[in-house]
């Protein structure tokens, strides 16, 4: 057991190597893959350090969701890039491009950070030392206070429930921010119906009548993008050597079957994390796992198949219900037990589904909130469209384009 530091160091080196790759790779997609590698290394590190619940969250957020967000962002921003054949020599780009002065500054800064990290690493307490008082309090208090055998859950949802509450609502604020920023095609809502007042008269003028539903807009958009409006659902009928691009949304039959087989397992695994509250897990990792499952379905089957599930109107309501449940669970402690976030649910015997008392209720509400919130964020960004007009020669936007939509 004393040899575990080798695994520690291997994981740390892995993380560092991934981080270096992120900076070093000039290919954006490659850099994102390296970022995913870093997240994977962090996950392994958390497993080695004995924090499986953090590892659950990290593997989905750091290794999957964050790289996906970056890929989406890169995909949305990428325009036609002219291939610069002169600078394909990577060496020249890496070593000849930057001034020497700046390189020295970078070396100095890196050395400083490295020294700081090494000092911090050597200063870490090792396992033979006595635990700090806070840790001992959590370890000894989890069982009598909450009847749970998982001190991390007791800390996150019990002793420091206020912090988790704050974090959750920070996440909620972020979700609302992303939603507001990405929702560009929303119809204007009037108070007295003034936005629909002249529709009939307008239809007499417009030939053909303007489509108002988002489906029609989407179909028109597809035609504009040059994609076939009636794309096949799956690419299975395509010839063997047909070149890209594929018009079908779904992936080939191999990927679809694999996802179909693995999905129930992943969903059960995610729900297990939250339902068995006395083992490592909890609402946040479970919510992240659910997001991973939805992303998997989206990747394999295409957007049309998940649209019924990830409809914003449904998800927003679900998320708000989760937030309301958190507030309710925490606030109920105030009249019943005399303080906010106090445990007011009777404690069942340990190692049962309800053993955590309030912890479990908080954790389940957190699952709803986080799962819905993260899904909203990812799909808001996925559904984002170019909403600006292309620049013409003078750099002026095309006035007649759909830039003002």
């Amino acid at each position: 057991m004393t040899w575990f530091w080798v695994l520690d160091v291997v994981c740390l080196l892995w993380v560092v190597a991934g981080a270096v790759l992120v900076v070093w790779l000039r290919n954006l997609s490659g850099a994102v893959m390296a970022l995913s590698l870093t997240g994977m290394g962090m996950t392994m590190l958390f497993v080695v350090l004995g924090a499986p619940d953090v590892a659950h969250a990290e593997v989905v957020v750091g290794a999957i969701a964050l790289p996906v967000l970056y890929l989406v962002a890169i995909g949305k921003c990428r325009t036609v890039v002219e291939r610069d054949d002169e600078s394909t020599g990577e060496d020249r780009e890496l070593h000849g491009g930057e001034p020497v002065r700046r390189r020295w500054a970078a070396v100095l800064l890196s050395a400083g950070v490295f020294t700081g990290l090494v000092v911090a690493f050597t200063g870490l307490p090792d396992e033979t030392e006595e635990l700090p008082a806070v840790a001992r309090r959590a370890m000894t208090g989890a069982l009598p206070d909450f009847h749970t055998t998982e001190p991390v859950s007791a800390v996150v949802y019990g002793y420091r429930a206020m912090d988790t509450f704050g974090e959750t609502f920070l996440l909620l604020a972020a979700v609302v921010g992303v939603m507001v920023l990405t929702r560009t095609r929303e119809a204007r809502q009037g108070f007295v119906g003034e936005e629909r007042a002249a529709d009939e008269e307008q239809e007499d003028v417009d030939h053909p009548p303007r489509g108002s539903s988002s489906d029609e807009a989407r179909r028109a958009e597809r035609v504009e993008e040059g994609r076939a409006p009636e794309a096949p659902e799956t690419p299975d009928r395509e010839g063997l050597g047909a070149p890209a691009p594929e018009t079908a949304q779904a992936m080939s039959v191999v990927a679809r079957t694999a996802v179909r087989v693995a999905l129930p397992l992943l969903l059960v695994g995610g729900l297990y994390l939250v339902s068995q509250g006395y083992s490592p897990g909890g609402g946040f990792p479970a919510g992240a796992v659910l997001l991973g499952a939805v992303l998997l379905v989206h990747t394999a089957f295409g957007y049309d198949r998940v649209r019924a599930v990830v409809r914003p109107r449904v998800l927003e309501v679900v998320e708000m219900l989760g937030a309301a449940a958190i507030v309710g669970v925490l606030a109920a402690g105030l009249p019943l037990e005399g303080s906010f976030a106090a445990n007011w649910i009777p404690l069942a015997p340990e190692q049962t589904l309800r053993s955590g008392g309030m912890l479990q209720a908080f954790s389940v509400s957190e699952l709803v909130e986080v799962g819905a919130g993260l899904t909203i964020v990812v799909f808001s960004l996925l559904g984002m469209r170019h909403d600006w007009a292309e620049d013409d020669e003078d750099g002026e936007g095309d006035e007649s384009g759909e830039g003002d939509a």
């Binding site: 070149p243 080939s252 191999v254």
Partner: protein, 114 residues
């Protein structure tokens, strides 16, 4: 005895993981590299999992988890490799110059000619 079997299984897994890594390093193009990388799962991770089960004496927590991980690896790893290589092939990622087959479009073209 049991420890010996477990160590042997883990050694087999480690060997194939290592050889897969060497394969990724040494193979000439993406397609052959992916082919080497998939081997680290089927022949590298699975014997190690079996070794873990053997070492822990097939107690339910270890056995079920190892089976779960093994099942997921066996399902998702080929699918992920397939999707990766398919995307690479479709977008015309260059092949090794001595490769027998050529890029996308040529297969269909050849079939149309014959």
């Amino acid at each position: 005895m049991r420890t010996g079997i477990a160590v042997a299984l883990c050694a087999v897994g480690l060997f194939f993981s290592l050889s897969g890594t060497v394969g990724v390093w040494r193979m000439p193009d993406l397609y052959t590299r992916v082919q080497a990388a998939t081997k680290t799962i089927t022949l590298g991770a699975l014997p190690t999992l079996v070794g873990v089960v053997v070492a822990s004496g097939a107690s339910p927590p270890y056995l079920t988890r190892a089976m779960l991980v093994g099942f997921l690896l066996l399902t998702l790893n080929p699918a992920a490799s397939h999707a990766l290589v398919r995307a690479a092939y479709k977008t015309g990622t260059p092949q090794w110059r001595h490769a027998v087959s050529r890029g996308p479009g040529e297969v269909a073209q050849r079939r149309a000619e014959s």
